[in-house]
């Protein structure tokens, strides 16, 4: 398990979701081991030893958003409700412990919360998440909490502005230093994807890596496919986009085989998109600014409450249609295919972005970058517009 700890510590650094030197894992087989920053490793071990699970990560996120969310929460509240549909589906809510509640030994309290949820935010300490059966699962849950708090914080700031001392400065540092430009430049794609299995698999694997390496998505948030004659090659469920080798299912378009039962939960959406658009490839990810912006709806007095699944309207962000729909066998597979053909991209409310390539992945990747860049710019444009009156007052 030490190799797994090393691997996923590396991933937390590579995706810049945790601060260097502030990462620790604990894992238990017949013995309990912990590794990483000594104080966090001790906390991780002490917490995991109280739980019937295999692994745990405790790490300080690279952004202070989770702590800000706690500090912004009214007194008496003890959890954050994720707003994006993907993490809400799997996490439900994220409990937190305030600094004042920790005492000398926070491990028992953290363990109690992790006895009911996959992750917890501990103010001043970081994000602590559980892996019920693997180290990787602890990493995935950390990524989910990081993603969820990122999205919610950006939403809250846009809606309510900065409320805390130091918040504005931290946010500016995030904008100036943490965020990096997104682009496809320097990446190599095949102009026209052939029908050859090996070429298709190798291209899907490369594109998966690119999306993670370029910071478009965290590694578990998305799926990729290519259509080749009577087959759809699609990434498997619970596959890491930057490790797709051996994790791509060939699925017959006529469903004559069920080998693809392990394919992504979005297989149906991919199939319908291929059928209705004639595209060769599909790229789907959960880039954060697109997720944030997709939930920004200006309709007032709308009777729809569960917008993420019930909204029948097609909105637009920078020419990209936005539709609602649950993942998997929910409504997403019905609502995306009819709208994606014209622009080559579509955003699903609170979820993520689908893009197409008519010939190969270059077009799909560029479209994903373009959508996310537009959403990022639009987010900051709106935020600045909101902030202007305050600036003038100052």
């Amino acid at each position: 398990m030490r190799d797994q700890i090393e691997k996923y510590s590396g991933k937390l650094l590579a995706d810049r979701s945790a601060l260097p030197g502030r990462i620790a894992f604990a894992a238990q087989d017949d013995v309990l081991i912990s590794d990483g920053a000594p104080d966090l490793a001790e906390l991780a071990g002490a917490t995991l030893s109280r739980l019937n699970a295999l692994a745990l990560v405790a790490a300080r996120p690279s952004l202070p958003f989770a702590d800000f969310l706690i500090a912004r929460s009214p007194k008496g509240e003890n959890c954050i409700l994720p707003q994006d549909t993907e993490t809400r589906t799997f996490l439900h809510d994220i409990p937190f412990l305030r600094k004042g509640e920790l005492g000398d030994d926070p491990a028992p309290k953290i363990a109690v919360l992790l006895g009911n949820r996959k992750g917890v935010i501990v103010e001043g300490v970081g994000i602590v998440t559980l892996g019920a059966i693997t180290v990787e699962q602890a990493f995935i849950n950390y990524s989910s909490v990081f993603h969820s708090t990122f999205v919610k914080y950006l939403q809250d700031v846009l809606a309510e502005g900065f409320l805390l001392p130091g918040e504005r400065e931290a946010f500016q540092a995030f904008r100036d230093q943490w965020l990096r430009p997104l682009s496809a430049s320097g990446l190599v794609f095949r102009d026209k994807l052939s029908q050859e299995k090996d070429e298709i698999l190798s291209e899907i694997e490369a594109v998966g890596r690119y999306t993670v390496e370029r910071g478009l998505v965290d590694s578990f948030f998305g799926n990729i496919s290519a259509c080749a004659g009577d087959l759809i090659y699609i990434s498997q469920t619970a596959a890491s986009l930057d490790e797709l080798k051996g994790c791509i299912d060939p699925v017959p378009t006529d469903n004559s085989s069920t080998t693809g039962i392990t394919a992504s939960s979005e297989l149906l959406a991919h199939r319908k998109i291929f059928e209705q658009t004639g595209a060769r490839v599909i790229l789907h990810g959960h880039p954060k600014f697109s997720v944030v912006m997709s939930m920004l709806c200006e309709a007032r007095d709308c009777p729809i409450k569960d917008c993420w699944k019930d909204c029948p309207h097609v909105r637009e962000i920078g020419g990209t249609p936005v539709v609602a729909g649950e993942i998997g066998a929910g409504g997403l597979a019905k609502r995306v295919p009819p709208v994606i053909g014209a622009s080559g991209s579509a955003i699903v409310y609170g979820h993520g972005v689908f893009t197409l390539g008519r010939m190969g992945f270059g077009e799909a990747f560029a479209a994903l970058v373009e959508v996310e860049n537009f959403c990022r710019e639009e987010y900051f444009r709106r935020l600045e517009a909101c902030m202007l009156p305050d600036e003038h007052k100052a």
């Binding site: 019937n52 295999l54 009911n116 469903n255 693809g260 039962i261 394919a263």
Partner: protein, 579 residues
């Protein structure tokens, strides 16, 4: 009290008495229901021989039964297995479980032995023991048809009456209480059937919380490709696994001599749909509807059954497999053990039975005539009798299902640590080793598997006590089911507290088994898996299992469980500290 009724019906077939009693609330809170409650109720009886008239045959529902909690119209049947000698439980879905709860009961415990064949009729207030002489010897369909006016029916067929060691108890709607021969225990008591009808409604403590938790579960079902994906079990039933197991090179073939059957496509999910006009069926109230029936309404075989009457016996004739499944259902026999016993018999004599012979042998087994007299004892006793004990592909005498352990090392470990013998459902590592749920694990590695199997056994013991279907956990987790349970009962439960309950149940079962003489020597896989390779192909090698690593991992498992190196308990008073 919400969720539970707090009542058990004690039936004594020897003296003909039936009485309702209270179940202590602390036992319900500590063991939930279903498997947990049944196992706890066996505490004073687990040493009895399975055919001792005084051994209880327990039917127990769970606190979610009777509500609209997805997949929870289920029960567990618990006693000691005549096939394995272990404590035994089996989870089964259907209207019967729901009606037990509606009749105001959490459990029915049947002891004694009737001098004449009888059936038990239960309603809201009464329980009667009535003559069943006219039904003795009848098949399941006729028995159910004769009694259906009295409500939901569960019954044994000729196999149970005749003491076949893998006889099932069959539910009226086609579900079965399978594997360990509990039908033979029922038959030994002279009990042909049980009917139940009730009109009670299960109360829910917090309706708003319940609705939210239910919506969360359903959302996760829709997000799961295994459940509601277009290639998933809702569409194709468990035969959706046929193609996958073939591709993964781990479909047991010809008594596990190989792991790939070139003609398995004949009975794949899509083939069954095409050839049999498969339509959706399922347990009562279940949204998944993974069971399939033919266009004539005949229940169609599950994955285990198609593989074992197919590849395991070298047979690719789908319609013959369907007939064998139908015959087993009608005679009240477990399909896995029946097919695996025929397969061991086939290898021992040098010829696997052809479809016509399969049918005649199944009849002979159920009636214990001809070669059926021996075959009715299951593969271990058959192979031993034929002088080739190594040909029984079983653990603790329970025939292995259709996942070759050479293709999934967690499965290899889980087969031997299962408290009811060679069963895939105790820890269900196929979920992560093959189906990638909740996350994938390396199927060709033992690393971490001891802990993973232990955790999964605890989880599934809790699931079997709720009682919910394990297939629900291809999408949902104990987080959501803990919410459902808390909302229904008004008692707070979460994943960790449920796993603690599961651990208590698991260890209780293990303790019972150890007290009855089981130890490390029984936690053993057939030698074939350590000495013969499976079928390589598509870039996949299936080498023999590494015995050293297997034993290492088993010892790790014992340490994690707090057991001795022999797999036993250090504290003989272990049960005394439990509720």
């Amino acid at each position: 009290m919400h969720g539970w009724t707090g009542k058990i019906l004690h039936v004594n077939l020897t003296d003909g008495s039936c009485r309702r009693e209270e179940i202590p609330t602390e036992l319900l809170h500590a063991y939930l229901g279903g498997r947990g409650l049944g196992v706890r109720l066996m505490r004073d009886f687990f040493r009895l021989d399975p055919f001792d008239p005084e051994i209880p045959l327990i039917f127990a529902v769970g606190p979610l039964c009777g509500t609209t909690s997805p997949t929870s119209a289920r029960l567990a049947c618990v006693t000691r297995s005549p096939l394995t000698g272990t404590i035994y439980d089996c989870s089964a879905g259907g209207r019967f479980a729901w009606r037990i709860k509606a009749a105001g009961l959490d459990a029915i415990s049947i002891t004694g032995k009737s001098a004449q064949p009888v059936f038990l009729a239960i309603d809201d207030t009464r329980a009667e023991i009535l003559p069943a002489g006219a039904l003795w010897g009848k098949g399941i369909k006729e028995t159910v048809a004769s009694l259906k006016e009295r409500g939901s029916v569960t019954a044994i067929g000729p196999a149970g009456e005749n003491g076949v060691l893998f006889a099932n108890i069959m539910m009226g709607e086609g579900n079965s209480i399978g594997r360990g021969g509990l039908g033979a225990v029922m038959g030994a008591k002279g009990l042909k059937a049980i009917t139940v009808q009730g009109s009670g409604v299960t109360g829910v403590a917090d309706r708003e919380r319940f609705d939210a938790a239910r919506a969360d579960v359903m959302r996760l079902f829709r997000a799961s490709p295994v459940i509601f994906g277009e290639l998933g079990i809702a569409e194709y039933g468990t035969p959706a696994l046929v193609d996958l197991m073939a591709q993964r090179r781990m479909a047991p073939t010809e008594n596990f001599r190989s792991t790939f059957f070139a003609e398995s496509g004949n009975y794949s999910g899509p083939s069954i749909r095409r050839e049999c006009g498969a339509r959706k069926e399922g347990c009562y109230g279940c949204p998944i509807q993974c069971k399939k029936s033919s266009d004539k309404g005949e229940p169609l075989p599950e994955y285990e059954t198609v593989n074992h009457f197919g590849a395991l016996n070298g047979n690719s004739d789908l319609h013959a497999i369907v007939r064998a499944n139908t015959l087993c259902n009608e005679l009240g026999m477990d399909t896995i053990s029946a097919a695996a016993t025929l397969s061991a018999f086939g290898e021992a004599r040098g010829r696997f039975p052809d479809p016509a012979e399969v049918a005649s042998l199944l009849w002979e087994i159920a009636s214990r005539r001809g070669e059926g007299e021996l075959l009715a004892l299951g593969s271990r006793r058959v192979a031993q009798e034929l002088g080739k004990p190594e040909l029984s592909m079983s653990v603790k005498s329970l025939e292995l299902p259709a996942y070759d352990p050479r293709g999934a090392y967690g499965m290899a470990l889980a087969y031997v640590t299962s408290n009811r013998g060679g069963c895939h459902l105790r820890a269900y590592p196929i979920s992560h080793e093959i189906l990638r749920k909740p996350v994938p694990t390396d199927r060709f590695s033992f690393s971490g598997k001891a802990r993973i199997i232990k955790i999964a056994e605890d989880v599934n013991a809790a699931v079997d006590s709720l009682v919910a279907c394990k297939f629900a956990f291809f999408g949902a987790t104990l987080e959501e089911y803990g919410e459902l349970l808390s909302a229904v009962t008004g008692v707070e439960y979460g994943p960790e507290s449920l796993k603690a309950i599961g651990e208590r149940i698991y260890l209780t079962e293990r303790f019972y088994n150890c007290e009855n003489g089981f130890d490390r020597a029984d936690d053993a896989l057939p030698e074939r898996f350590f000495s013969e390779a499976g079928s390589a192909g598509e870039g996949i090698d299936v080498p023999p299992l590494d015995r050293v690593r297997f034993e290492e991992e088993l010892q790790k498992y014992y340490r994690i469980r707090g057991l001795t190196t022999d797999g036993t308990f250090t504290d003989p008073s272990f049960l005394e500290v439990l509720p």
